[in-house]
Structure formats: C-alpha cells, structure tokens
C-alpha cells in the first residue's frame, strides 16, 4: 500500500460466468490509488467496469483476484473493517427507504454505522439544511422529487461520517440546479471536511468541475490516470484554430495535410478555418511559415480549449495516453 493512499486497487480482476456469453471480464488487471482528501473521477463508457470496481471497493462484489485496500483494511479479508471506513451511494434515489422521512432515513443509516440517534442530531439538522431538505424533513421520502431523493441518498452517505465516499453516478437524473448544488457540496466535503471521494459519472461537466484527477477505464482496463488540469493543459497547449482570409487551394490543402497529422480545413464565404493539433508546439511557426509562403493572410490564431468530454473520447479512441 502506497503511503498516503486511502484507496488502493492492485491488479484487480473480476470475471463473471454467463451461460450465454461465457466468461466476461468486467475488470481486467486494474491498478490505481487515491490519496487522502482527493476527489477522483472514474470515467468510462457503459460496461467499462466502473460500477464493478466501486462495488469491489465497498465489498459488495468479491474480486476474482487482486487486492483492494480501504484505508489500510483489506476489503476481501477484513470486509467489516473496510466498510467501516466508507459510505457509498449506488444508483442514487434507490438507496433510501421511501416510507421513512428524510430525518428517519438519516437516523437509520447512521445507526447502521453504529452512530446512535442522540449523537447525530446536530449533524442531521446541518445536513438537512445544506441539502435544502429542511422543509421536507418529516414527509415520507416517496413523495419527494427524484432530485430530492438523490440528495437524500447522498446525505445518508454523509451522515455516516466516514473518511471515504464512493459515489456511483451521483448526479444522474438531477436537474441542472440540483447538480450544481451537489457539486458544491462535494467540493466542500473534500476541501473542508478532508474526505476522500471517488465518483463515477457520465457527466463530464461534473467531473471537470469537481474532480482533482480522473481515472479512465475502458473494457475493464485503466486507460489513463492524470490530473484534470494536466489533461486539459495537454490539449490547450496543442490545439489551435487559424482563420485565414481567402480560399485555401488544393495545393495548399495537400501541403498542410502532408505536413500535419491532425488538421481540419473548412471554407465558408471566402474565409477558411484551419483546426490543427500540434504534438510539438514549435511547429506552430512551421504552419505560419507555410501559410505565409502561399500568401495566405492570417486573420486570427486562437488556442482552443477542449473540454474533458472531448479529451475523454480521444482517450477512448486511443488517440492519446497521458
């Protein structure tokens, strides 16, 4: 186990046997770690192995092989010690009792972690206030909106006061406003409360907005693991958009295409747009020289700011490894 890591996954393999499809490898030799206080996003397409990985961490799924440590506790050999350190929200609003009120749900989930009702009162009030559920504290949860139920599920995870939170698609089905509220809470939990959060999401905005680092998983394998800022910088430094006055003729197109691998040229109403990615930033001058040699007048040069979604798709396509 690495020093400072609170979650450690070593060569995790999980296979299932299906009568129809034979052996399915949901997670294939995945290794990664998460440092204390980090918010890490686990990204991947459907069926990539995100949920299985999270469920192995919270002991709900037994790994076929490999090791999983939760704050030093081996999740396979000491599952109760491992789950004592974490709380998880899986499938959002399906994690609360619909016949209980938010207050009763919070009390029950605290008790599942051995926290008595009398010592949770102040925290309960604080959580209901922070999650904007004060007015609904004593109504049955089945009458709440999906977004409120989802927030309640996250609050039920928070009430356990564990150092680690695992969130599987925490913003799925939430409206924009609630999603932003939840993001702020997650940042606050990691920043002020020092909790470690591992979240899986399809919502790249959430991951880009909340996470310090992303781990991309595809076909059960870890494809990349890097800080969000590094991944964004990687592309920001290399992607440029040139706007050129006049047409780009065939000869120039051929010259550009042969000189640069990733280039797209489009023309509209006497103005050409050239989108280019440069593996070496120095080659920017080469491109400028080429345009100048063909008397192309450059109107503007902009550095493009790709978002995490674009980077994620490129990582999945194997176009980049950080």
């Amino acid at each position: 186990m690495e020093a400072g890591s609170v979650l450690e996954v070593e060569h995790l393999i999980k296979t299932y046997r299906s009568r129809r499809r034979g052996e399915i490898k949901a997670v294939d030799d995945a290794s990664f770690s998460v440092e204390r206080g980090e918010i890490v996003g686990l990204l991947g397409p459907n069926g990539a192995g995100k949920t299985t990985t999270i469920k192995c961490l919270c002991t709900l799924v037994t790994p076929t092989s490999g090791k999983v440590f939760v704050d030093g506790a081996n999740a396979v050999d000491e599952p109760r010690a491992a789950v004592a350190k974490l709380a998880a929200v899986l499938e959002g609003n399906r994690n609360v009792y619909w016949r209980l009120t938010p207050r009763e749900n919070l009390e029950f989930f605290a008790a599942l972690h051995g926290i008595p009702r009398r010592s949770v009162g102040a925290l309960l009030d604080e959580l209901l206030e922070r999650f904007n559920l004060e007015d609904q504290r004593d109504v049955e949860s089945r009458t709440l909106s999906r977004g409120m139920q989802q927030k309640l599920a996250v609050a039920c995870a928070f009430v356990k006061q564990t150092p680690i939170l695992l969130l599987d698609e925490p913003t799925l089905g939430l409206d924009v406003e609630t999603s932003h509220e939840l993001r702020a809470m997650l940042r606050d939990m990691a920043g002020n409360a020092g909790r470690t959060i591992l979240l899986s999401s399809h919502d790249m905005d959430v991951v880009q907005d909340v996470c310090d680092r992303v781990i991309v998983i595809n076909n059960g394998r870890i494809v990349t693991s890097d800080r969000v800022s590094n991944l964004l910088a990687l592309f920001q430094a290399r992607a440029y958009r040139f706007v050129v006055r006049g047409e780009v003729d065939g000869a120039l197109r051929d010259a550009l295409a042969s000189a640069f691998d990733k280039i797209e040229i489009s023309s509209d109403d006497g103005v050409a747009t050239i989108d280019v990615e440069l593996l070496d930033a120095e080659r920017l001058y080469e491109l400028v020289d080429l345009l100048r040699s063909r008397q192309c007048l450059i109107d503007s040069i902009d550095r493009r700011d790709p978002d995490l979604e674009e980077i994620f798709l490129r990582i999945l396509r194997g176009e980049v490894r950080s």
Partner: protein
C-alpha cells in the same frame, strides 16, 4: 460498535413502517381471521357434537395462532430481503459496519415485537369467537415461544438466502406456508422423527401449556433441552446457509439485483 444502537434503530423503523403500512397489516390480519372463522364454522357444523370437540378446538386455535405467527416471522425475513433488493437498500445493509447477517437478525428480532403483538390480538379475538379461553401462562409461553421462533427465523434465513441469489422464491414460500400447517399440528407423540422438523417440537410444548395447562416448570428437562438444541441448530444452521448464499451473491454481484 454498539449493538443496542442497531436494535434501537431497527425497532424504531419496524414500528414506523407498521404504522405507515397499517392498511396492509390490517388486511393481512383480517384475511387470516376470516379464514379461521370459516375453519371454525366448518368444524362446528361437522363435528360440533362429537365428544372432545372442545379440546380439539383449543388445539386448532393455538395451532392457527402459531401458524399465523410463523408465517409473519418467515415473511419478515424473506419478504424484507426481497423488498430491500427491489428498493435498492439491500446493498446499503450489506455495507453496514455490523455486517449483513447481524443487521438482518436485528430486523427479524425487532420485527417479532410487532408480529407477536398482532398475533396476541388475533388470538384473543379467536378465543372470543370460539368461546375457548386458553391457558395464557406467560411465564411458560414466552420462553418457549422465543426459543421456538429463533429456530423459525433460522429457517427464514435459508429462504432469505435463496431469495438473494435466485430472486423468485414466492412459490417455495407459499408451499412452505402449507408445510407449516403440517408442522404445527404434527403428532410428535406418534411419530418421533417429526420432532426433529422445524417448529414441530416447540409447537407441541406450547400446546401443552395453552391447552393442557402444563407449566414450564413441570416439563421434563430433556424436552426443554431438546427444544433449545433444536432451535439453536436451526438458527445457526440457517445463518450458515444464509452466509453461504450471501458469499455467492457477492461473488456474482447479485446483492443489488432484483
């Protein structure tokens, strides 16, 4: 880890849900009572004048009340697991620091508080209906019933384990409801082997108290020891089987499925 916290929270949840699901509970009790009235009237019509009918009727009342209690207790374990799996909360229970089996034992035992209260009310109404007032010697009944139900809960865990792996266990459960009737009325004095079956021996001793007006202190020590051992084996055996199914469910990622 404070076990009292778990039991307190579980009891509170049981009482809250019993209050909020009152219509379901009431409908169940009314249908069980209605079925009893049909049995009673039928028995009275065809055998009301035969000698010893009164004692037989007392036996029927006790057996029926025990059957109702066992059905409620078994349902509390099995249907609770099915419901938790459907709701998606079973995984949350599976992540409890107490471990899933201890949480479910707490749920089952605290559930008994409500079930025993309901069946006690039902028994009173049945006694009033038949005019047969049974011997309610709580000092004798409570320990016998507690030990008997512990064994039944163990059996409930077997069905619960099947439920989390195979999901659809309603049909075996319905069949078991019929089997419970046989176990409650089984003549353990005639067929000795029957006393090894779940429930049969406990039901036999409880009937001795309620119908024959025996006291627990007058019972043979080995009979009581057999009941203790019998229930202990069913309870621990049931838990062991449940843990096996739980392990299988975690291996196949079935805890969150329904």
């Amino acid at each position: 880890m404070k076990t009292a916290t778990l039991y307190g929270a579980s009891l509170r949840r049981t009482l809250i849900e019993a209050r909020r699901y009152w219509f379901d509970t009431a409908a169940g009790v009314v249908s069980i009572y209605g079925f009893f009235v049909i049995i009673f009237l039928g028995a009275k019509l065809f055998g009301g004048n035969t000698p010893g009918f009164g004692d037989t009727l007392s036996g029927v009342v006790v057996s029926y009340a025990l059957w109702a209690l066992v059905i409620f207790s078994l349902g509390a374990v099995t249907f609770e697991l099915i419901q938790e799996a459907q709701l998606g909360t079973l995984e949350q229970l599976g992540m409890s620091a107490f471990g899933l089996p201890r949480v479910l034992v707490a749920r089952a035992l605290t559930g008994l508080v409500v079930q025993v209260t309901i069946v006690a009310g039902l028994l009173t109404v049945m006694m009033a209906t038949t005019g047969r007032w049974l011997n309610i010697d709580l000092v004798s009944i409570v320990p016998l019933l507690a030990v008997t139900l512990l064994g039944i809960i163990g059996f409930g865990f077997v069905l619960g384990g099947l439920a989390i792996v195979f999901k659809r266990v309603q049909q075996p459960l319905q069949i078991f409801q019929v089997v419970v009737i046989a176990l409650v009325i089984a003549p353990v004095g005639t067929w000795t082997w029957v006393k090894f079956m779940p429930l049969a021996w406990g039901a036999h001793l409880i009937k001795q108290v309620m119908v024959d007006e025996n006291r627990i202190f007058d019972m043979v020590g080995t009979d009581l020891l057999f009941l203790l051992a019998h229930s202990f084996v069913y309870f621990t055996g049931g838990l062991a089987v449940f843990k096996y199914f739980e392990h299988t469910a975690r291996d196949r990622a079935l805890l969150g499925h329904y």
